[in-house]
């Protein structure tokens, strides 16, 4: 083990020296182009996007076309600048280089999108708005969109937290205590597989407000997978761990808190992940039908007014929020479960 880390310690300065030598040597232009080829092409793709905005006149009246093309040129310049100065930018430059293929693809996609909608209407127009129309939503309808984001995040956070907490406690109890399991397990069997949205009618006339009804539904959607996986995690803890702890003088509370729960934590995170996915679905439906606020409601409102660009704009925000939440969950998991590194992967 020590030799391994020692050789690694030696290897790092070596490669840094090499890198410095490489950066210090003036590269001929073609070589430089080859070394950072994708970055240059990505920049070209964004130039293409900018040009595609300018070369033809819009089929309809979109005030942001010119601004968008300017932005595209700026981005193209940024990519080119970062690519050429590559090594000077350190980690940022390296990250950009790694993402260059994606930037290239994105530039091409946006160009195609621009041409196919705003310029030639290959895609039927009101249903497929051009990029500048969506930009327009973000600039002109920002307050309403932000309000919706805040409403959605609040509802989701509350429901998810309640569902995760209740699910975790239930899971631990039924995994640990046979008599709790006896009573709760059949109930779980009966209620759990029901899609949370099936409770919509019930929830909306039982709960005092649409907001509390929606919170309940989101908690339900989160709680079921969290319960089941926490339970299976606790139930599958190696008995030898309990034997070890007991011979060392552990009391039952220690066995639950310090043995069963940490051992079950990887399962719990799978449950939290699944709960997050299903709670998103419930959130959108609940907002559409009940709460009249949030991104789900915004989506429906936009669709009702045939404001398709608003719809797409909300969809993009929603997907960013959902993937952001999942990234956050994974980061939390990686931090809490460092000990798992190299043991389990999912």
């Amino acid at each position: 083990m020590s030799t391994y880390s020692a050789s690694k310690a030696v290897a790092i300065p070596q490669s840094v020296e090499e890198g410095a030598a490489l950066a210090g040597r003036p590269l001929s232009f073609p070589t430089a182009l080859l070394a950072s080829g994708t970055g240059v092409f990505a920049s070209a793709a964004w130039v293409l996007f900018g040009l595609s905005c300018q070369l033809w006149t819009d089929l309809s009246d979109w005030p942001r076309t010119h601004a968008l093309s300017i932005a595209a040129f700026i981005i193209a310049g940024g990519i080119l600048g970062a690519t050429v100065s590559g090594k000077l930018l350190g980690r940022f430059g390296a990250g950009l280089q790694a993402r260059a293929p994606w930037l290239l693809a994105l530039g091409l996609f946006l160009s195609l999108w621009e041409v196919a909608t705003a310029k030639f209407a290959w895609l039927p127009l009101p249903f497929f708005p051009p990029p500048q129309a969506i930009i327009e939503v973000y600039t002109d309808d920002l307050p309403k969109l932000l309000d919706s984001v805040v409403a959605s995040v609040k509802l989701q956070l509350g429901g998810y937290a309640i569902g995760a907490a209740v699910g975790f406690l239930t899971g631990v109890s039924i995994g640990w205590s046979r008599s709790v399991g006896y009573w709760v397990h059949p109930v779980l069997r009966f209620i759990g597989p029901l899609p949370a949205t099936a409770w919509l009618p019930f929830a909306f006339f039982t709960f005092p407000s649409n907001w509390s009804a929606s919170t309940f539904l989101i908690a339900l959607a989160t709680g079921f997978p969290v319960t089941v996986l926490t339970w299976s995690g606790v139930a599958s803890v190696n008995n030898a761990y309990y034997d070890v702890a007991r011979t060392l003088g552990a009391k039952p509370s220690f066995l639950v808190l310090k043995v069963a729960i940490p051992a079950a934590l990887p399962h719990v995170f799978v449950g939290l992940f699944m709960g997050l996915g299903s709670s998103f679905a419930v959130l959108v439906v609940a907002e559409m039908i009940g709460v009249k606020a949030g991104l789900g409601w915004y989506l429906q409102w936009a669709q009702g007014w045939a404001a398709y660009s608003n719809m797409y704009a909300a969809l993009i925000v929603m997907s960013l929020l959902c993937s952001g939440a999942i990234t956050l969950l994974f980061k939390t998991r990686d931090r809490l479960l460092v000990w798992q590194k190299g043991v389990v992967k999912w």
């Binding site: 083990m1 034997d243 003088g249 940490p262 460092v338 000990w339």
Partner: protein, 265 residues
């Protein structure tokens, strides 16, 4: 810090406990039928003795250890530690299992601290954990996680986790069974040294006749299931022992004969 004020560490007991195993019989219920595993096993251990329990695979040796540890009550007979009946697990009798069974979510240090933490006495006694880790020579790895350790290192941690509690009886369930033969030989030596230094009573299950003879004062040979005592052999050789000792070779032939395996010797 206070511990340093004393010339000698006060944490380890000078002498192990006596153990009486009185007419123990035990059985398991498997699918409605009763499977007897121990049949009137009867022996007593003097404080500080090193006993090796030797027997064919699956004969019930490990079950006997679980009973001594107090993890299960016997069907009949009784067990006494220093004259007091054993009614449940207690940290004066600590088991080291064949698998290290370290908690993968705890670092080496926290694994070793487990016993003190479970008994609620870790505060103010952190030095004992450091000492135990040092005792098994793993001070450099105190912050490592179990998955970063080799098999031998993990088993050393398991040993430290047991020793930190100052057991009066150390119960070893084939602790070296899964190690490679070189690590095994090293650890046999270390085990003898630890036992001589601390003076705890040791009860060890093993499959390995050579290991039993290298380590133990007494070798108790058990029969096939249900286990019965076949022979109780005193190994009267001084420590540190030599593996090539002709007296041990003679005992080995004798024991293999008892197990019906002497044909090749």
């Amino acid at each position: 810090m206070v511990a340093h004020a004393f010339a000698e560490p006060i944490t380890f007991p000078a002498v192990g406990a006596a153990l009486e195993v009185e007419h123990i019989s035990h059985a398991f219920d498997i699918d409605g039928s009763v499977l007897p595993v121990l049949d009137d096993v009867n022996f007593s251990v003097k404080p500080g003795e090193f006993i090796a329990l030797l027997g064919p695979s699956g004969c019930g040796k490990s079950t006997l250890l679980r009973l001594v540890a107090g993890l299960e009550p016997p069907r009949s007979g009784s067990l006494r530690e220093d004259g007091e009946a054993i009614s449940g697990p207690f940290p004066s009798r600590v088991v080291v299992f064949q698998d290290p069974t370290l908690f993968p979510w705890r670092t080496v240090w926290n694994n070793v601290a487990l016993g003190l933490e479970a008994q609620g006495i870790l505060k103010g006694q952190r030095q004992r954990v450091d000492d135990a880790i040092e005792l098994v020579g793993l001070s450099q790895f105190r912050n490592a996680y179990p998955h970063q350790l080799s098999g031998g290192m993990a088993q050393r941690v398991a040993l430290a986790r047991a020793l930190v509690n100052d057991p009066k009886i150390l119960i070893l369930d084939e602790p070296l069974g899964k190690l490679d033969s070189l690590t095994r030989i090293t650890m046999q030596g270390e085990l003898v040294a630890l036992w001589q230094r601390k003076g705890f009573t040791t009860l060890m299950v093993t499959h390995d006749v050579e290991e039993a003879l290298f380590l133990a004062n007494r070798v108790i040979v058990l029969s096939d299931r249900p286990a019965r005592i076949k022979a109780d052999i005193a190994v009267d050789r001084p420590y540190p022992r030599h593996r090539g000792d002709p007296a041990l070779a003679e005992l080995r032939r004798h024991i293999l004969g008892l197990l019906g395996l002497d044909a090749t010797w």
